[in-house]
């Protein structure tokens, strides 16, 4: 897509060249690859650098961010997608709680089982409306000078996750080193991300081999941003800490920072 002529459009997403909002969708073909940990730490890493960041839990069927934070607002992202409120109504600012230079807003998906069951019966009409709402929400955030928007998504091909991919500028594919994951990732790149004309990049997470021997720089045409070794303590520590804030020297935190820097370089 040619961004050079954006200034002639009625609904400007880019106000001036120095103020572009970058929207990332953190997606994977399989569950349990580490999307939420990466999305959360990446969002905080951007905010620590002074970027105003909005992290949105679009994993509506398996919401996880609400178990990490205490919600302050009365509205869920589900309400926004159903047209019951604005995106701003769903945003909780954790800048002071976490201690970041930039704002770190988080929008949560409703973890109540009734709300999740309700999603299963949503028809294509609702999904079409949800995509439109997401696109409009993105514009609303861009107009309010949000620097980074990050969507944490549900794995595989579900309406909610593909809506997030469609609304993003770039997809970060979290990949685990298994045959099943590799086959599905390849299909996703060819059959979804490329069709929607999205930039992609891969993060190899929970890698079991020797990370120092890695020479592969691209896979299925997408650059590999980082290879993160399998470290069980990430799961246990993540229950109480945001590693990139509490332990910036940890290998995981350094990997996240490297991913953040490479994403900026690619723009």
């Amino acid at each position: 897509m040619n961004f050079n002529n954006y200034q002639i459009y009625k609904n400007q997403i880019i106000i001036d060249e120095g103020n572009m909002t970058l929207t990332l969708a953190i997606h994977s073909s399989k569950g349990g690859t580490g999307k939420t940990s990466i999305a959360l730490n990446l969002a905080v890493a951007f905010a620590l650098e002074g970027k105003d960041t909005c992290l949105i839990d679009l994993d509506l069927r398996g919401p996880s961010l609400s178990s990490i934070f205490e919600t302050k607002t009365h509205f869920w992202i589900n309400d926004f997608l159903s047209g019951k409120c604005s995106l701003k109504d769903t945003m909780n600012d954790f800048q002071k709680d976490i201690g970041t230079d930039g704002h770190i807003y988080v929008s949560f998906a409703n973890p109540d089982i009734k709300a999740i069951r309700e999603l299963v019966s949503k028809d294509r009409n609702w999904q079409a409306g949800a995509l439109k709402a997401l696109m409009n929400g993105k514009k609303e955030l861009a107009e309010n000078n949000m620097d980074i928007i990050i969507f944490d998504t549900s794995p595989g091909v579900e309406y909610e996750s593909i809506n997030a991919v469609a609304a993003s500028d770039m997809v970060i594919i979290v990949h685990n080193d298994t045959n099943a994951c590799s086959n599905c990732t390849e299909q996703l790149i060819k059959g979804v991300y490329t069709l929607l004309d999205k930039k992609c990049a891969i993060v190899d997470n929970m890698h079991h081999g020797n990370c120092l021997d890695i020479i592969e720089k691209k896979r299925y045409g997408a650059p590999i941003l980082a290879t993160i070794p399998c470290m069980c303590e990430i799961a246990t520590r993540s229950a109480n800490e945001i590693l990139v804030r509490s332990d910036p020297e940890h290998l995981f935190s350094k990997s996240i920072t490297a991913i953040k820097d490479k994403i900026i370089e690619m723009q």
Binding site: Y9, A128, Y159
Partner: protein, 119 residues
């Protein structure tokens, strides 16, 4: 006695006939209604439908999603195609009911069809 019985049979038959007519009418109404509902589902431009569009139409529709209501000229500037080519693609999408066309002053604008969205 026989004529009474016969009259009763004829009346019952008339009643059954009337009920059958009613049932046929109800069935026809339901068919139309379901057909309409299916039509609505087919027209909504959700992301899976977007993925199944031909490449050229998908690019046009995606651009329209991204930049909001726009003229063919504005779409063409993003996709780097000729205005007439984009106008053709947009009109194809209008015929498929995925896009709506409207006039604002002297210009013709296109927008994603969301009039069918239920709250």
């Amino acid at each position: 006695m026989d004529s009474e019985l016969l009259e009763q049979v004829v009346n019952n038959l008339k009643e059954i006939n009337a009920k059958l007519d009613q049932l046929i009418l109800q069935a026809e109404f339901k068919e139309d209604h379901v057909g309409e509902k299916n039509k609505i589902i087919a027209d909504s431009l959700d992301v899976i439908t977007l993925l199944s569009l031909a490449d050229h139409l998908r690019t046009t529709a995606t651009t329209l999603f991204e930049i909001g209501p726009a003229t063919a000229d504005e779409i063409a500037s993003v996709t780097n195609k000729e205005r007439a080519v984009e106008s053709n693609y947009l009109n194809q999408l209008v015929r498929m009911n995925h896009v709506k066309k409207y006039r604002d002053g002297r210009k013709v604008y296109f927008r994603i069809n969301d009039s069918l969205r239920k709250k």
